[in-house]
């Protein structure tokens, strides 16, 4: 048992950290978020050059053969910089779908595009009635000719406005809330019948509601099994949760650091407010939560390849904890910044908003606590 990073992992971290320090100052990020595009395609090319887009892929597809720890290292540093480029939707999620379920042809065609930075993907899975249940799918995929016709409405697909391919869950059989009968499809964002209603998100990303109106796709659009896609979706989402936990670790650490810095300089009643014991204890509690976030980010990364039930429980526990911790650390970071914490000019609010929205993505604390309970309280141990 060992929790240290390899030399290569440390080099990777340093290179991402350097990129963030050089290119992702608070002001620079504000410009990106305000811009018409909402991201920097040139940065994306630099990610490709740094090998970040290749990290988790096999060498035969131009990848570097990294694993969950490499993803964790990258995402933690992205979290510290509040990087908005679509790494999670493309490399982590799109990449995982292709790695786990892509046909040889799909991998050969698409993985090199991801690696070289010419393809962004977006995972369009949520639906208005489904809340956080991945299996609650109304969007339909009907067999027609050699392929499928898709109809439906997908909510808040992150990075859809900049994506070349959408990864869409759709019902191929069964009723709306059946576990069986879900297929995963690769859909061109520009295909006929696809309409995006795009918008910024409160945490500085871009997303869209996706309407599918008789969208025709070929049989080669299918990722994995036509009527048994749920285990694949669950696996990919657990990997996404691990990546998100790493990002959360970066965000949580940064919120504590900003708060420590602020309270050490901010004077009130003749001394830095960091000298008030009530605030010291609050920051000590924030620190305890940060330590737990770090532990959970490590834990879930290390358990991604564990047996399914253990992997699921690990992801559920991590997601539940990061939601709780993000709330505690974030709310107190704002509170301890006082009025300044309420302004858009201070970095802390932006981290708080990201932490808050990360809690929602892929299911909130309540959802995952319940999921964890179902996985761990079944039979006698």
């Amino acid at each position: 048992m060992d929790f240290s990073f390899t030399e290569e992992q440390t080099l990777l971290r340093n290179s991402v950290a350097r990129f963030v320090a050089d290119n992702y100052t608070f002001e620079a990020r504000r410009e990106i978020v305000k811009s018409a595009e909402g991201w920097r395609p040139d940065y994306w090319k630099q990610f490709a050059e740094l090998g970040l887009l290749a990290a988790p892929f096999a060498e035969e597809h131009g990848g570097l053969g990294g694993g969950p720890i490499e993803t964790m290292v990258i995402l933690e540093e992205f979290g510290r910089g509040l990087v908005v480029e679509p790494y999670l939707p493309t490399v982590v999620i799109g990449g995982a779908f292709l790695r786990h379920a892509g046909s040889a042809a799909q991998k050969e065609e698409l993985l090199p595009q991801i690696v070289e930075g010419s393809l962004v993907t977006s995972f369009a899975f949520a639906e208005p009635q489904a809340r956080f249940d991945l299996f609650d799918v109304r969007t339909s995929a009907k067999k027609s000719g050699g392929g499928y016709t898709l109809n439906g409405h997908k909510s808040v697909a992150i990075a859809a406005p900049m994506a070349g391919k959408l990864i869409v869950t759709a019902r191929t059989a069964g009723g709306q809330r059946d576990a069986k009968g879900i297929g995963v499809f690769l859909v061109d964002a520009t295909a006929k019948g696809v309409t995006l209603e795009s918008y910024p998100t409160v945490d500085g990303l871009r997303a869209a509601d996706v309407r599918l109106d008789n969208v025709a796709v070929g049989a080669d659009a299918l990722l994995g099994e036509a009527e048994n896609g749920l285990p694949l979706v669950e696996r990919v989402v657990d990997e996404a949760i691990a990546a998100l936990s790493a990002e959360a670790m970066g965000v949580h650490r940064k919120m504590l650091e900003l708060t420590l810095d602020y309270t050490k300089t901010r004077q009130q009643f003749g001394q830095p407010i960091s000298k008030f014991q009530a605030l010291q204890h609050r920051m000590a509690d924030m620190f305890v939560h940060v330590e737990e976030s770090v532990s959970m980010a490590y834990m879930v990364a290390l358990k991604l390849d564990a047996p399914e039930a253990e992997r699921k429980a690990a992801a559920a526990a991590a997601k539940a904890q990061l939601g709780r911790a993000g709330r505690f650390i974030g709310q107190n970071a704002i509170q301890l910044h006082g009025g300044m914490g309420m302004t858009e000019e201070m970095a802390v609010g932006h981290y708080f908003k990201r932490a808050t929205m990360m809690n929602i993505l892929f299911g909130d604390t309540d959802h995952h606590t319940r999921r964890f309970a179902e996985l761990t309280q079944g039979a006698a141990a």
Partner: protein, 394 residues
Amino acid sequence: MDLSFSKEDEAFRAEVRAFLEAECPSDLRGARIYDVGREGTLRWTQILYKKGWVAPSWPKEYGGTGWSPTQKYIWDEETARIGTPALNGFGLNMVGPVIYTFGTDEQKKRYLPGILSGANWWCQGYSEPGAGSDLAGVRTRAVREGDHYIVNGQKTWTTLAQYADMIFCLVRTDPNVKKQEGISFLLIDMKTPGIAVRPIITLDGGHEVNDVFLENVKVPVENRIGEENKGWTYAKFLLGHERSNIAGVARSKKSLEKLKSIARSEMAGGRPLIESPDFKRKVAELEIDLLALEFTDLRALSEAAKGKPPGPETSPLKIRGTEIQQRLTELTMEAVGYYANPFIKGGPGRNEPEIGPDYAIHSAPTYFNTRKTSIYGGTNEIQRNIIAKMVLGL
């Protein structure tokens, strides 16, 4: 002990409710001050002004209603019930009472009518950069030159200064005495040369507060309230006044009803969210908290009705009132799931096609914005200091 209202009070409630239902314009009901703007606020102010009900906490002689504490409580309940828009509280609840209590006859004649009619929008020049909860640490200087003061300095967190005709300011007129002793209280016309307003955008993306810069601003001495260097006395009086209705029970009850209705339309696990055990519990816990707050507030009201002035006992109302408001906005955001995420500017119903349900649109920004309630008006940490020192004698 008796919970029931008197017959007279019940008749009063009926009258108030009938008036509000008939007269409050439907486009203003339940709207935020952001959405209705100065125009909408003025429209509603004028309706109340004509009825003579614009100033429930003012004495009759100055144009107030002369209502009892119980009547004011009923008024708060009924206006919250219908969702009337907020008024310009800096005029009506803050500087107005200072003027009629400490002002000269001339000042009363000149300022009170505009406050009541809504013709003049007031803002507050208390906070300064870096001062935080230390309100007496005023650094804005006012130097007497003949029959004027020359004012230089900066105010911050000035709510809706972008609408304001007038600002009431704490300024330092004597820098050589204890910090509470050299402060004066000035009324300043916002059109005076030398005043500049710079928006502060808050983390919800809204423009509610501002920096106000004062550079060689000439203020007639007759615009000073009371004595020179006694401004802290008037400021403290005002802070006491600000505490009334600090618990916000009636508004929170309204928000709770809205939350329940949202949770009835949102789905979770294939059933309405309100039936989900976790959400059900969280709403119930909040409603129980609100019930406790309501009765703590009623107990304070019962004391007030006997003529007891509000004291540090109001601090629990501030702490729990703001915690409950924050929790309400948090649960509302939670209820809408993914549709908390889109950042849609403008009011409900204005985007085409629609992104998510109307009630979801501002849920996250409102949650972010409401974090301020435990910071402004004396942070909740300051309130705990007050309880420890003034109530518990620690």
